[in-house]
Assembly symmetry: C2
Homo-oligomer: 344 residues x 2
Amino acid sequence: MSNQKLFNVAVVGATGAVGEQIIGLLEKRNFPINQLKLLSSARSAGTTIKFRDQDITVEEATPESFKGVDIALFSAGGDVSKALAPHAVEHGAVCIDNTNAFRMDPNTPLVVPEVNISKVEEHNGIIANPNCSTIQMVAALKPLYDKYGISKVLVSTYQAVSGAGSRAIDELLRQTKEALEGNPVNPDILPVGSLPVKHQIAFNAIPQIDKFQENGYTLEEMKMIRETKKIMGDESIDVTATCVRIPVVHGHSESVYVELKSDYELEDVKKLLSEAPGVTVVDDMDNQQYPLATEAAGKPDVFVGRIRRDLGNTKGLNLWIVSDNLMKGAAWNAVQIAEYIAAK
Amino acid sequence: MSNQKLFNVAVVGATGAVGEQIIGLLEKRNFPINQLKLLSSARSAGTTIKFRDQDITVEEATPESFKGVDIALFSAGGDVSKALAPHAVEHGAVCIDNTNAFRMDPNTPLVVPEVNISKVEEHNGIIANPNCSTIQMVAALKPLYDKYGISKVLVSTYQAVSGAGSRAIDELLRQTKEALEGNPVNPDILPVGSLPVKHQIAFNAIPQIDKFQENGYTLEEMKMIRETKKIMGDESIDVTATCVRIPVVHGHSESVYVELKSDYELEDVKKLLSEAPGVTVVDDMDNQQYPLATEAAGKPDVFVGRIRRDLGNTKGLNLWIVSDNLMKGAAWNAVQIAEYIAAK
């Protein structure tokens, strides 16, 4: 007989790509669950999902769904989080929100466990999970920040379509088939579902993820810029991002230039990264080994390779950072936070 | 009756992807040709290629092939250029070499017509065509260099498989089909045909183009670094590159950060670029217009967009530069040089 506390857990967006991964991780990690509530929009309600050999029926998420819930994991879009998370908090739940709704709210901690897990303590009911492309980058940068300080980060991303949801995956596969058969390719969703202009993603690279802001950056780029500063707790880091969608299903890759605040030895950097929690170094030039999206898919690690000195700046360092955007970039980061809360 | 001088022209590597484009451009541009000699390896000799309604039989390239040739365009690999270009020069031909064989030779001009066409005058029989990823970048940087000076360039590339030859195109299409059908994907050529380890390119991003050098950079990255300095005629520019192969057939995209030597007005930069020879600005956020590989394919222009200020450095500028790697990145740049020689 165990006297481990068991929790009532709700997953909002249970039928989405991230929701599925969260449910899988809760089972795999043997999360201390009393009751699991699976919630979705009215459209997807009624579906059943297997969890620990039980069929759980997905229910429509309403303000009353959160009665008795201890921990609620949200990944159903920013509007759903904005509408329902406050009700969940009222009912006494701690919300881990995987959307953009509360990330930059000064009263909401923005947490990557390897970087700033203690911020969870400061929550007012909601803890925000950062953007996928930010999470993997800061997980790799944190040990460098602690030892050397960081003055500048320049990142260009190579992002998978799964970050835009399962309909974007379907679109990539459909367009690719159309192109291979020599047929016209019909863009329907990407780059941004809610905007009028669509571009081909099959055999292409689209330098737009989310809407353009006044300053010429996309929202995805501004997320990387703002969230990195907030998570690292240092507004002085100069971050620039170019976010690009490429024809990859799962796994974001990032070409990252970092300017440290002091000189460094390359071997020290490699050692630091290889000892960093959640980070796996894949960096063997002789055997042509470096992180690849196809190999990162389905794994929780942040993979780092192509670790090399800048040739013009003794404080400059280049990295290639790859991780599964639905795992560490979303579901796994959220479940890590939930495990920390459960352990408290 | 015209008294325009006509030239005997040889194309070495006539059956390759770049050779085909060169022949097409010579015809389209109505190049002043007396006799066109099409040369290849013994394996491809005997093929016939149509040029101006004539079937020309491809001959095996030998040292004696260049007797009477005025202009020889080489794109059959560095070893062929090293072996045969000196013979062509002996026979009095001017060679325009599209390989890496002579690019960094101090006696060989490395020419992008929009940047340093006058260097052609200094040739000793051979003029080198730069690497595809370098050409499109320097064409866009030159007007900025002239007005503001450039202290640093950081580039991450999104390169098409056609840069690795037509067998790499076949491999991408074959692997993509295998992956779509749920079959195992069999990597055979990429990332580097002559190296033992192969990686999947379908639905992936491979951060290796060409062999690794002692300093941790690939040869492709070092080409971009060294060639940029040579073409701009300024060794003080600090260039860093990360070169990545992605599942695109034609057209290299580049995320480029430039640190100018002085502050600038964004509107001035846009105006400069839109007036620059060979450069077309596609930069309309309201209508989601920016350069795309699929739209650059088959065109001679260098397309520039996503033109925006760095948010932390008033001298920093970000650009997205796209061009067809077989056109401006190879064939068109070579034919431009040939046209300059012919006009002299």
